[in-house]
Symmetry: C3
Subunit: 273 residues, 3 copies
């Protein structure tokens, strides 16, 4: 019996819900209610509903963080193509989690953090959806119900045909790689404090640079690679691992984005030293 | 045994909470805690807390959507008259749900979506309230506790005297009706994207107009009656059923409210063609 | 067997989570998931996540309100010193609740509302923390896990060494006291409506002034000490007990803070009459 099968049989299944609906919106509660109809004993956690409308990059970055919690069924909804021909999908990951949502790249980075894709299925079998599906709200009518059925032990092959993983829409951001001591990277998310999150995994970054060494970007010369904000004076920029596995550019008690005029999606060039 | 009695006896009761407190506010958690004190096994869903302060129309429209989920006990709190002589009420609906909140019209549209009112009671019996009731927070001290007691199987007549339904405060919006190919309607809610929701039921509207036909409003000539946004080019206005049973005016990836200077409560005249 | 031990043995334990992360943020869900890993049967309530970033006063005031709900384990995270030498602590209160968070004063006012401190422990024993602790997110990796272990029945002395209560960081606000008919007090929180909450307990205030009497502040002469907003005309200032045990300055359907240019932390002088 796999770790995943064990979890399904022995304990309360965990279902997380993420979207761009905004916290407190009826869409969030409606997805939870759709789970409750089918798998009332599931533990539902509202993982993230603050993603900007239609921001697939930010949504993908927020969803990645589920690798920090228990194995579960993770619904992701940032879905500008809802009601068009884009596929609805479930992805099984090596860690044992399932990711459920639209095939628009949103689920791909989380799948990598969850140790990679084992299989993927298209959500075509209507007996695992709600009746009278809204063409504009598949989160409630398809994705949350599918997560609940999986939590009940439905085999993923029951959901619809297997998908060739090569045909899945790619991640909305590649992983940045070092070239000659330079790292060309992208700002995939900016939080309320103006900290900028990069398409750089902390584990990879630590292989290239040790804590206490310096990194430069544009006119930010020699930022300290730190473990926490307090290692630099208030108002100074720094670079550090965030709390969900990525590298973050920040100013201690300030806004990096504001100070350097950075927007989501900007490309940055980091240099050692 | 009625469907409702069956639900109460055999399964986890569902309680939803809606308010104008704003998401993350202590008021939301305090209502959930009040339920937990009395009916710890209830499933509590935070349905909607984004209604603007004191906006009974918007709150009523948000609450309507519970007809899309399982039978439950639905607490609604948009309550500018709290602490005055306005009544606290519980309404039993034909579908089997209960609505609990102030008698200010807030619960009426939801009651219609839940197939109509079976009975109503005034919440006067203090043994189903918390002790030391705050005169400014009946949501926590009366409405949530009453929902929890109902979920525990308390008969509604225990809550207080029966109310003559004719004396309940009316809905904050009537249902719009067609006259000579024209529909005078009202904007009962505008969401963050600027989509305008009308006092028009999708089911009724579909009886008058088929998908693919056109509707005009003011200088918005010939909007397509669509199933989803992608049926019109980006930037074009359209009219479509929303995901909770009403008709919505929207711009594909734009703001209808902004484009046409529409505010909550505005009256609009729609014409066929 | 104490009331607290009884609760732990016989019923579903209650854990509340409060922070300055903002509602819908992944940090909130991550703390809930950390609890779920350790104590899946706990009832988790998101008490308050709207505290302004790093606002220890506002966070302390929000946390105080838990005295209005059942005995539980209350996690509070407003933690500008995370990753520095500030201590992580658990406080046991006389009512039977535990407060868990940073030793920066955040938990002290709540402890007073919960009838005072019985004991305090420093959270040093790593077997009650998550593995690979983030130096910037102790809420997820230390505080929530500790709450879950306490909910499971772990004795607080297992968490780390006892703390001399005298060495705990003090409350971020003292309790205001009357002197010669004057009350020098502080604005510890301002809500979205512009109501100003004071470091004055409603119970204490009522000992000095009866409802219906008048209080003056600056140019607000003779504000009515009221039970609810509707006792004064729309637009008039008033003073009233809030719904969580403090005294509030408000304008009926207006903003006191805006009208009188008040900011968080301002000192005010109230006079009888």
């Amino acid at each position: 019996m796999s770790r995943f099968e064990k979890m399904r049989k022995e304990s309360v299944p965990l279902i997380t819900l993420s979207s761009d609906f905004g916290p407190g919106n009826i869409g969030c509660g409606a997805m939870e209610a759709a789970v409750f109809e089918i798998c009332p004993e599931a533990k539902v956690i509202h993982w993230c509903h603050t993603t900007h409308g239609f921001d697939i990059k930010g949504g993908a970055r927020n969803l990645e963080g589920v690798y920090k919690i228990s194995v579960g069924f993770h619904v992701g909804v940032v879905d500008p193509g809802v009601g068009t021909k884009r596929r609805g999908i479930a992805i099984e990951t090596k860690r044992g989690d399932f990711l459920i949502g639209p095939d628009n790249g949103l689920l791909r980075p989380a799948a990598e953090f969850l140790e990679g894709i084992v299989g993927a299925w298209e959500l075509t079998h209507a007996n695992y959806h709600r009746k009278n599906i809204s063409p504009i709200f598949h989160g409630r009518d398809i994705f949350a119900p599918v997560a609940a059925h999986l939590a009940n032990g439905v085999a993923p092959k029951e959901l619809g045909p297997t998908i060739d993983v090569q045909t899945l829409v790619a991640s909305p951001y590649p992983e940045a790689t070092w070239k000659n001591g330079e790292l060309e990277c992208e700002v995939i998310h900016i939080n309320e404090n103006g900290s900028c999150f990069l398409n750089v995994r902390a584990e990879e970054f630590k292989k290239a640079i040790r804590f206490g060494k310096k990194v430069s970007y544009s006119t930010c010369y020699h930022m300290l690679f730190s473990k926490t904000f307090g290692e630099v004076p208030k108002g100074d920029p720094l670079i550090l691992p965030d709390d969900f596995g990525r590298i973050e550019l920040a100013i201690n008690q300030g806004s990096f984005a504001l100070a350097f005029g950075i927007k989501r999606g900007d490309k940055l060039l980091l240099k050692k030293g």
